[in-house]
Amino acid sequence: MATTTARPAAIEDGGGASVDLTGDDRRALLRYMLLMRATEERALTLYRQGKVPGSFYDGRGQEAVSVGAAFTLGPRDRTCILHRDLGAHLIRGVKPGRVLAQMMGRAGGVTAGKDGNMHFADHQLGCVGMVSMLPDMALVTCGLAIAFQMRREPRVAMTWFGEGSTANGQWHEAMNVAGIRKLPVVFILENNQFAYSTPNDHEFAVDPVKRAEVYGFPGVKVDGNDVEAVFFAAAQAVERARSGGGPTLIEAETMRMHGHGAHDDMSYVPKEMVEHWTARDPIDNYERKLREEGFDTDEIRESVKGELDAETEWALAQPMPEPHTALEGVFATEDPVLGDGNAPWSRWQREAANA
């Protein structure tokens, strides 16, 4: 088992393209993390203003995991994204306004009010939305990969799940199937220390990343608060999958900095633990690093704020759904079409330009 905690040397992918981050890529990584946090902070404000029905969940502190991993994907790759990973949706092209409208149950939300909070996906951007039962989407991700494999397509499916779901039988079924068929899948295990209130030592006796080996594929552990570390680990796994090398399990160690939901005061979390992880905030650290390297991070912050203000205005202008739409869409009348997602990494930009 390899454990990656720092930036590796340049990785050669199957096609020989170098895996590297340009200055624009690094600005983008920071920007997506900031956009995720700003969107979730705004959503929490709307929740506290009584504009968000039901409950509210966010991924504060875990921004580097979704952003770093999703940034590696090409447009035709596919995802099943977890509810702590808004950054992945934003990278694939979901606008923050649609996310806010989604949380407010508005007609303009991604599911038009059919589902709430982070239970959404824009299939036109290549994402199949999660369900609450975890980690059900791990098997669906395997199914997406089976389709690529059967059609001999160099494409990859990526999914995220928490360490809590590694205790569920379906997790085993997914790992087993992926291993048997050497599926082009990347599993991102987000160890955010708690399954709701249950700590790691109640969840497993052995670090689940070690299980990968017995399923027949590599397990890699990375610092989940280091966006570039996550990126490079994921990029390596993605290229491996794309070239027929099979699945990878990446455990990104991080910390859920909010309660399970807005109703959860985290009283079960030791104070020192919160302090420890607060000092390791993925955005603060990356922003400081880029600033030290001469990037104008204030400009990025300003641009995020401007975008979010406009998106919030748009979301608040969206109407509530018409009641009759509750009866619509139970059955499909047409075959599915999963569209392609955004792929902001410069590598894909270059490929698109060369194509």
Binding site: T111, D115, D122, L139, V140, A147, A332, D335, P336
Partner: protein, 322 residues
Amino acid sequence: MPEITYLQAISDGLREEMRHDESVFCLGEDIGAFGGAFKVTDGFIEEFGADRVWDTPLAENAIIGTAVGAAAEGLRPVCEMQFADFISCGFDQLVNVAAKMHYRQGLAVPMTVRLPSGGGFSGGPFHSQNPEAWFLQSPGLKVVAPSTPEDAKGLLSAAIRDPNPVVYLEHKHLYRRAKGEVAEGRFEIPLGEARVAREGTDLSVITYGAMVQLALDATEDLDGASVEVLDLRSLVPLDTGAILESVRKTSKVVVLHEATRSCGVGAEVSALIAQEAFEDLDGPVVRVTAPDTPVPFSPPLERAVLPQPDDVRRACLELLAY
């Protein structure tokens, strides 16, 4: 047209679809080299290869869950549960992931789950169930239950072509007993259309699956009464028009199924009739079903539980005399 068995018709239907459309593939336990526990996919792996005839590990959620993903990507998976009973192990993927996908995010999931169902062979409580009612409570799933070889083939094609998850109940009792002429080549029997298996004027037996033939046999000679037998064929969508039409004609209804009684298809059909055809009724709507017990193993116990021809006959005669 050649006369073939119900089993052969299912096999033919699946093979025709796989020949016709490369996106159709099947997956399940022991369906490859072994040809399936009931030999539906006998010879498939030789014709289509291991990629399209996937011998899965013993993991029903994996079978259905990966099918959801493959379907979302544009394939048309046909899952085989070795026995309908084992659908419980794949239930979560079916009712939470597959069934709700289109409603929640507009993403169709065209997949078929074949369920070899039903009892009568001392299969005991885990190899004899008729679990269809579970899926009637799960909006987003279609449910079909063919009773003849022709319907078996035509409904399977329609299920595979449908853009929704379809639960396809194939009754094990019919596999080699039901024989009939079936057209060669591909054809579809539309989902949601019942079939009048026999016309009648005095009483309607509304049923599906293996109970259709039982109803036909049991009511063939009922003191000269003219008994209509309506084969629902699809349970979701339910052909309410055909049900109400039959009720309006005969005004007396026996609803028959092999599955257990409470909240079953019979309850749904009865409630529909009570609500929509009350003023056409000339007697209580009568259910003949298995009681609310598991299916027991020992032959006399199993016979006591599963509807027998005499049960149907008796219920019809009582209702006719009402």
